[in-house]
Symmetry: C2
Subunit: 297 residues, 2 copies
Amino acid sequence: METGLLHTFSQDYKQLLENELKSLVEELDAPSIIKESMTYSLEAGGKRIRPLLLFATLDAFGLDPRNGLLAAAAIEMIHTYSLIHDDLPSMDNDDLRRGKPTNHKVFGDAIAILAGDALLTYSFEVVGKIPNEYASPETKLKLTIEMAKAAGTEGMVGGQVADMEGEGKALSLEELEYIHIHKTGKLLKYCVLAGAIIAGATQSQIENLSAFAHHLGLAFQIQDDILDVVGNEHLIGKPVGSDKTNQKSTYPKLLSLDGARDALHRQIKLSKDYLEKTGLDTNLLMELTDLVASRDH
Amino acid sequence: METGLLHTFSQDYKQLLENELKSLVEELDAPSIIKESMTYSLEAGGKRIRPLLLFATLDAFGLDPRNGLLAAAAIEMIHTYSLIHDDLPSMDNDDLRRGKPTNHKVFGDAIAILAGDALLTYSFEVVGKIPNEYASPETKLKLTIEMAKAAGTEGMVGGQVADMEGEGKALSLEELEYIHIHKTGKLLKYCVLAGAIIAGATQSQIENLSAFAHHLGLAFQIQDDILDVVGNEHLIGKPVGSDKTNQKSTYPKLLSLDGARDALHRQIKLSKDYLEKTGLDTNLLMELTDLVASRDH
């Protein structure tokens, strides 16, 4: 489903981002083991959908996506820290992530916890490193605050708590959406918001972009649940059906597989409708939205 | 050793801080279990030396310590998160902290990890909440950057990693100092730096205050090691001699108990010398320094 435009864009900016992540850790004056552990998980990255969302948002405003490189690196650090902590034995107890041993399987639980802490902490310093010509101190402070909100108890951490609390229980659709909106949705929304903040978007653009990202986040999660039922184990990098094994509430379970597919298409449609209302050059964001709906891993 | 001046000051501002910490968590729209877990550890606080250092620094500049209330709350959140994570079974595996069951003993490992993550994340949002009349957006951004540096791999996390790496090994005095300067020293230094930044200190004041805090941090840690040998178990809230049981390198072990006491007095003297060079009204900071040297828990 990736067309030429998004494909080239993704490849170019993924590479830029990965180089940036690598050198941001390299320049730290710190014990080598913690840097190795941070880099191990940062390099295990997949499609880098979050950074690409930010880059594509800047592109929609006619700005050079490079202006958002450090903001994107900070987001990917937060996403990576959350995966490291989620995989821990006392959390989801996962041995594999994207087909590679999880951080704690390689470095031990203590270093994995600290690598997560370090990535989360560093993400805020990294936002501070954005050159003033791309974002004023006031803009950088705003990014910091919004990033903390998206990642904290009112966002990602809150969603993870609700997810754990709901384990083994039969959740309602509303409870399931609370989890997803917080656990993955808020950070995805922040990616788009960060682009809008850097671009100096109007209030109405911010509202439409936020609504776009909200529905995109739900679509992302519904597709995740669908893939867990029908996906290819090799591509996903984790055993297919693991949610079912854990007796997790999922969209296919609550809505049937066909119902989940309908819900997915409804969310995709809603997200595109809001995108159109922005009046921006949203080609890349549209393609990214299609990519989320049709991805096979 | 606490005189009247510091005693009253401590009591007033400790209370203010504790009320602030409580309401900052209360106002979060998040699952109740994570808020309870955060508050449990925030309320288990001891002397609140870090916030008091910040308040006393503002006082030295003739400013109302209340201007630093949110910055101090953020620091105490970071300190508290570090204790929660350090106590985990895969880290120091401590069941008691200040005489109370540690966070994971009450809430389980998963919530304890997430409460730590949540406090760390929230600390950056809390700095962003400082009213503009106390700190400009530029000043707040500077606070977040310096706080991240003090707490991350080049500070506290790096010190914790080095501490774990050094476990069971005979460390040199240099290696021991690396651990302390990073694990506890950098955040203590940041408390003073944060006060100086809010007060708009000159470069020379910042340098002298940083040197003061550096030596104070070392004094703090030497006294900690001494207390572990001679302290009263009831007052400290953890078994005396636990460092020895863990075969940890300590100042008394490397320098003998008398040697450690000499080193303590040398660091106290150095810190006071730098304090005098600032030309500020440092009565409270002087008393706080004496308190560190003579505390019995």
